[in-house]
Subunit: 497 residues, 2 copies
Amino acid sequence: MASSTPKYANDGLAGFYAKVDELESTFIDQVSELTPRYATGLGDAVRIPSISAYADRRKDVFEMSEWVATKMRAVGIDVRLKNLGKQDGTELELPPLVLGRYGKDPEKPTVLVYCHYDVQPASFEDGWKYEPFEMTVEESGRLCGRGTSDDKGPLVGWINMMEAFQKAGLEVPANLVFCFEGMEEYGSFGLQGALEDEADKYFSDVDVVCIADVVWVSDEQISIPQGLRGIIFYLVTITGAKQDAHSGGFGGQISEPMVDMVNIMSSLVDSNGKILIPGIYDNVQPVTEKEYESYQKLKISEDSLYGGTGGRGLHDNQADALIARWKKPSLTLHRIENALPGAGAITSIPAKLVGKFSIRTVPFMKAEEIDHIVRKHIQDRFDTLGSKNDIEIEAHPNDWFHEDASHWNYQAAIRATRNVWGVDPAMTCEGGSIPIALDFKKILKKNVLLLPVGRPTDGQHSTNEKLDKSSYINAIKLYGSYLKEAETLWRESRKKL
Amino acid sequence: MASSTPKYANDGLAGFYAKVDELESTFIDQVSELTPRYATGLGDAVRIPSISAYADRRKDVFEMSEWVATKMRAVGIDVRLKNLGKQDGTELELPPLVLGRYGKDPEKPTVLVYCHYDVQPASFEDGWKYEPFEMTVEESGRLCGRGTSDDKGPLVGWINMMEAFQKAGLEVPANLVFCFEGMEEYGSFGLQGALEDEADKYFSDVDVVCIADVVWVSDEQISIPQGLRGIIFYLVTITGAKQDAHSGGFGGQISEPMVDMVNIMSSLVDSNGKILIPGIYDNVQPVTEKEYESYQKLKISEDSLYGGTGGRGLHDNQADALIARWKKPSLTLHRIENALPGAGAITSIPAKLVGKFSIRTVPFMKAEEIDHIVRKHIQDRFDTLGSKNDIEIEAHPNDWFHEDASHWNYQAAIRATRNVWGVDPAMTCEGGSIPIALDFKKILKKNVLLLPVGRPTDGQHSTNEKLDKSSYINAIKLYGSYLKEAETLWRESRKKL
């Protein structure tokens, strides 16, 4: 921002201060002025139960897409609903990708903004304090309801930002391309194909991507994630007899797939979390001393570090725990399932089993090499058993993600966070994968920023989802500030070229 | 039978011949004469859908108890319906034990006959060829319908036998005590308590027990089982975090119960069926050369030997396979279940698991010793893992059963089989356990005979249950012949004393 006339503006919401220049000051004042209206807009969005997972709610997801399009048009966005066809061979229509464009100024950067307008399932009977699809504003300022944090709050925030710029008589500092999805909570059907479709068309002039669907690393630590672990999901099928057999009649007499399965699974990882597959750690990047120290300093409570898992931690200090989550691969044994329909009598010998495990990968592990050594390890182990059963191995890889934080896209987000919240964000990682981040990166080949708004305890996929009012209002400010900083840094980067 | 005037009577049903004395000849002729009526009686029994597993069919189980009692009274049996109270803390009334007595002649042995009048669930939609609760007689003579083989055919057979003796003007050769159960297919609730109740009362004068609820060892091999394996069912619970965690967020960071579980399970048994727990085989009786040879000679098709399991056999010849099923312990790993309700997301780290396995035991393994070495083995293994999780072990033992076949009860059955089917039965075992056999043995302390009628492919617990007409009619003859032989041998045994 390189502000010449800095001032500190207390928004009176969370005790944070923003250090801003005049343009931003005007914008921020406008956001504060409009604040009383913002709850109404989000409340209207929450009221539409756009649950993508349930077929009988699909009409509500469509209604939500119309609601979003209407709001976008109201602030002058040129909207296009992109039809995604039917869901995976079913007769169920996929909700459209709500695309939008605003501005075409060659003197401004073009930022693609991603949010999603569908939500996780929710019903009052699951143990909600309030009706999940009727937003309740608590005295403390918590906005309670399904989707407030994930991801209707952030989505509506972008539209509010546009309105604030316009009401303040200011230009929006960047050209914007919107990509609002309606199936994020249920497999993102159709998104990848649509990105491939539009990469050289609708998205051809995009400079950077901003995904507004993440949360801070902890409730206390403002952060921007720079990396995500990948995942290779494995299904190991072991087949014995044609059908389940009674263990009284056939125990000791026939080959039992479960014996091979637990043997193979027990050879993959030990009780301390160490993966036992030879070569698996070969391309894992070592953690620098500087990273270690910075991880140790992050403000993360014991509770945030171990979530609701109640301990059973494998590490004695915060840095080691975070390194295990962010910088090292892990292997989790998920389950062993009976693969025959209707099978599973209490004393049966299961005839066909599917063992499911996954490996979380980190830079710079190579998915193909990993897959090769995993398959070899399993096959070698199986061969030593002398089993009469058959084995099949199936893998579903999703690569890790690691972004260059020195890019102006990240630097703009870092500066905006400082402007709005008054502190530098920690550069962190996520242990889980966000497939859409990788999709945008691989298909559009642009720098992809994950810009957090909510807190990890917002209850995004559980009961009593909320968004703190400070998070909601500061998101609007953050988006505006991010675009302004992006414009500045983009111009500087062009001069250097 | 030590018949003075043997004759061979072809019953025209299955090509078998019976070698009988005069009394039996008269009885058998009477059975043949009454044959056309027998199908009607069994059809009436099949028509009542006395499914004990379904609460809403309980009234039908009660109706069936009344039907049985009426039929018993019609042949002069003194019936008593023994109330068994409510089902396991529910408000559901248990169907009565239908008890009956016939004869009190001190010059005859007193034989307790056990059958059950409840059936497994069945519905046409499951893939039945005919309506399961409307008996269909095929041209080939197959009596098709739920319960024909298990266990209404055998039960009605005993009543038919009484009628045939009476119509032929003959005395029934033994005093009879009937014990017909209505909950056999759903846990035999209340039976054990009732046996304990009546051991010194209603059952005080019982000399031997005959359980008519088993089948031959194979369709081709007429047999009488002399032993049953026991079972110790284990539940191993491993508890980690308070709730399931996401493997992206927490993989590598927290202790995973599934890792300990597969490690422990893999230490119990190998892929060749060998149990790896030290000391487990210590009290297992060696198989004699004679037994080995006799097993090798049994008429058991590959199909019967491996049931519908489609091979994957661990043994190269029949005797080894049968020894593995009858004379050796086996350990089956049944499953690993998620122990928290609602848990089990595809990429979760399960927080609490129950691993289920069972050990089939044989003479003369000692359940308490086995339990001790199993627990020690698991705990030792767990201790080596250095796991942060907790472990609990729960065991449910049911002892093995092995009966003295030199007793007159067995010898009478062997002779009767020879009389009716024209061949010596093979003395076999069953790999599975029949808890009621052990209950009768432990509580009444009398010789317990398991007297087969049907064939293993009768479909007792699956669709298209049937009883061959030859099996049904020969069962009636077998019961009469068994009682006559029992009377003779009992008298001889008394003389020896």
